[in-house]
C-alpha cells in the first residue's frame, strides 16, 4: 500500500505554545485511520496543520507524493482534501443548499448538483431542510451538513474532526456506517478524530494515539482495542 498522506516530524505552534511535537503519521490510500487522544492533546491542531492553518513549523507533510506543508490553505484543499472541522463551522446565514454549494466551490454547477443528490441520499434530512438557514439547524443536522459539505468537493482524503459530537447514538451509528460505505464503495480515504474511541477503533483500519502533541501508540483497530492502557485511558465506560 502507498501512503496518500505522510506526516514526518511535524511540529506546530500557537505563538510560543507548542501544540504538535514532531508527529509521524501515515494514512494509506483507501484506509480509514483514526486519531484518538484526550482533550487538548492536539488532535484538531493536527487536522488543521494538514490544511496549512496553523502551518507546520518543522517536518514534512507529504500528500500524494508532494510536500504540501508550504502551500496556502486554499491550494491544499483544492487537491481533493476536505475537512469537516471541529465545531462544524456551518455558514449560519446561508441556506443548507448554499452551504452545500460552498463545498463544491470551483466545480461546475452540473457536477455540484450530481454530488448533492448523493449527499441527499446519504442524509435525507438535508433535502427536507434545503432552504433552512444553517444557523437554525439542530446540532445533529449541522453535523450532517458539515460532513455533506465536505463530501461536496468529492475528496480523495476526508478529514473528520469529531463527527459524532453531540449526536444521538442512533445518528452516530448512521454517520459511522455512512463513512464505512463511502470508504468501501468509492475507496475514500478517511482520517477520523474521535472522542468515541471504541466505535472509532472498530470502524478504522488503523489508529494512532496522540498524547500532548506526540504520537505514543499506533496499531490496527483490534490491536489497540485489546491494549489495557488504551482501555483504561480512553474506553472505560465510553461505549
Amino acid at each position: 500500500m502507498t501512503a496518500l498522506l505522510s506526516l514526518r516530524g511535524v511540529t506546530a505552534f500557537y505563538g510560543a505554545i507548542q501544540a504538535l511535537k514532531g508527529v509521524d503519521l501515515d494514512v494509506n490510500e483507501g484506509e480509514i485511520v483514526t486519531l484518538i487522544g484526550a482533550n487538548g492533546a492536539g488532535k484538531s491542531t493536527l487536522m488543521m496543520t494538514i490544511c496549512g492553518n496553523p502551518r507546520a513549523r518543522d517536518g514534512q507533510i507529504l500528500y500524494d507524493g508532494a510536500d504540501i506543508s508550504a502551500l496556502p490553505t486554499h491550494l491544499i484543499m483544492r487537491r481533493a482534501i476536505a475537512q469537516s472541522p471541529e465545531g462544524r463551522r456551518i455558514f449560519p446565514r446561508m441556506s443548507v443548499y448554499e452551504n452545500l454549494l460552498m463545498g463544491a466551490h470551483g466545480r461546475s454547477a452540473a457536477e455540484a448538483e450530481e454530488t448533492m443528490e448523493q449527499v441527499f441520499a446519504l442524509f435525507p434530512r438535508m433535502k427536507e431542510r434545503a432552504t433552512q438557514r444553517g444557523g437554525t439547524l439542530s446540532g445533529g443536522e449541522q453535523q450532517m451538513l458539515a460532513i455533506g459539505r465536505a463530501l461536496m468537493s468529492r475528496p480523495r482524503l476526508l478529514l473528520l474532526d469529531e463527527p459524532s459530537l453531540g449526536l444521538a447514538p442512533l445518528v452516530v451509528r448512521q454517520i459511522f456506517s455512512a463513512i464505512r460505505d463511502l470508504n468501501r464503495s468509492t475507496g475514500l480515504t478517511v482520517l477520523l478524530v474521535e472522542q468515541n474511541a471504541f466505535q472509532a477503533l472498530r470502524l478504522a483500519h488503523r489508529g494512532y494515539v496522540l498524547v500532548n502533541g506526540a504520537i505514543t501508540m499506533a496499531g490496527t483497530g483490534p490491536d489497540l482495542l485489546a491494549r489495557p492502557e488504551i482501555r483504561a485511558a480512553y474506553l472505560e465506560g465510553g461505549h
Binding site: 490544511c51 492553518n53 496556502p72 490553505t73 486554499h74 484543499m77 483544492r78 475537512q83 472541522p85 463551522r89 455558514f91 449560519p92 446565514r93 446561508m94 448554499e98 454549494l101 460552498m102 463545498g103 466551490h105 470551483g106 459539505r149 468537493s153
Partner: protein, 305 residues
C-alpha cells in the same frame, strides 16, 4: 404639502448616493471587521475622476451626453477599483493579524494621503461643472405657486443607482463570487478550508466597494455640480452613519440607512437649518450607537469591534 414632496424627491436622490457609499463600508466591515476610513476619500477620488473624464471627453469632441456619462461611469469605476485594490494591498493587508487598531490608524493615514494627493494635484479650490442634463418635469404646483420639480438629473441619479444596486445584489446573492464573499464574511477560516482564495476575495471586496463609491462620486458631481478634495470626509461620515443605522454588515441595511440619512438631512435643512445639516447626521450616529448598536437590519453577532 408640495414643499414636503419636493424634499422627499431631493432626499431620496441624496439618500441613493449615501447608500452606494455605505455599501462599501458595510462590505469591508463584514468581511474583515475593520472600518475603512479611506472609503469616503475613494468616493471623492471617484468624483474627481468623473470630472476629469467628462472634461476630457468633451475636449475630444464627444457631444452625446449619455455616451459621455456611460464612458465616464466605466472609466471612473475601473480606476477607483484599482485604488481600492491598491489601498488594501499596501495599507491593510500587511497589518492583518496585527493589533486591532493598526488597520484603523492605517486607514486614517490613507484617507489623509488621498485628500492631500487630490488637493495638490487638482488644487484646493472647489471645481464647478455645468449641469449636463438640464430641465425636468414639473409634477405639480402647490399653494403660492411652489412648483414640485423632478429634474432629469434626479431621475438619472436614482435610476442609475437602482440599476447598479440591482446588479450588485444579483452578484452577491446569485453568483459563485458573491457566495464566496458571503462565505468569507461569515467564516473566513472555513471559507479557506473549502478552497476559496480568501485574500483574493478580500481584494475583490475592496475593488467592488471602491467601484460603487466611484459611481456615487459621479452621481454626486452630477447632482451638486461642484466638488472639492474634502467632500469625501463629510459624505464618508454620513455614509458610515447610514451603514451603522442600517446595521453594519447588512447590505440592504446600508441602502436603507442611506435613504434614511438622505431624507433626514434634506428635511432638516428644509425645515430647520441648512447650516446645521451635517450636525443632524452626526447626532443620529451618536444616538444609534448608544441606543441601537445593531442598527435597523443588523445582527446581534457582529460585535467584532
Amino acid at each position: 404639502m408640495a414643499y414636503a414632496l419636493q424634499q422627499l424627491i431631493n432626499g431620496v436622490t441624496l439618500g441613493m448616493i449615501y447608500g452606494l457609499i455605505a455599501v462599501g463600508y458595510t462590505m469591508v466591515y463584514g468581511i474583515i471587521g475593520m472600518i475603512n476610513f479611506a472609503h469616503g476619500d475613494v468616493f471623492m477620488v471617484g468624483a474627481f475622476l468623473s470630472l476629469i473624464s467628462l472634461v476630457a471627453l468633451s475636449a475630444l469632441g464627444i457631444s452625446s451626453v449619455p455616451l459621455a456619462l456611460a464612458i465616464t461611469l466605466i472609466l471612473a469605476a475601473a480606476i477607483a477599483g484599482l485604488y481600492g485594490w491598491t489601498i488594501e494591498r499596501v495599507a491593510y493587508r500587511p497589518l492583518r493579524g496585527s493589533f486591532r487598531l493598526a488597520p484603523l490608524i492605517s486607514a486614517i493615514g490613507m484617507s489623509i494621503v488621498l485628500q492631500n494627493f487630490v488637493q495638490v494635484s487638482q488644487g484646493a479650490r472647489a471645481k464647478p461643472m455645468p449641469a449636463l442634463i438640464p430641465g425636468g418635469w414639473t409634477l405639480m404646483r402647490g399653494e403660492g405657486g411652489f412648483a414640485v420639480q423632478l429634474s432629469w438629473m434626479q431621475i438619472a441619479v436614482v435610476v442609475t443607482t437602482l440599476v447598479i444596486l440591482a446588479g450588485f445584489t444579483w452578484l452577491v446573492t446569485r453568483t459563485p463570487l458573491g457566495r464566496a464573499m458571503r462565505a468569507c464574511e461569515q467564516d473566513l477560516k472555513m471559507a479557506s478550508l473549502l478552497g476559496i482564495a480568501t485574500d483574493r476575495t478580500i481584494s475583490l471586496t475592496f475593488v467592488i466597494g471602491a467601484m460603487l463609491a466611484a459611481v456615487a462620486g459621479l452621481m454626486f458631481l452630477l447632482y451638486y455640480g461642484v466638488i472639492d478634495f474634502f467632500i469625501g470626509f463629510i459624505a464618508g461620515v454620513k455614509a458610515f452613519t447610514a451603514a451603522v443605522l442600517g446595521g453594519v454588515g447588512s447590505l440592504p441595511g446600508a441602502v436603507l440607512g442611506g435613504l434614511a440619512i438622505g431624507l433626514i438631512e434634506t428635511f432638516w435643512s428644509a425645515y430647520f437649518s441648512v447650516q446645521y445639516k451635517d450636525v443632524a447626521a452626526f447626532s443620529i450616529l451618536v444616538l444609534v450607537l448608544i441606543f441601537m448598536p445593531t442598527g435597523l437590519l443588523g445582527r446581534a453577532d457582529v460585535e467584532k469591534v
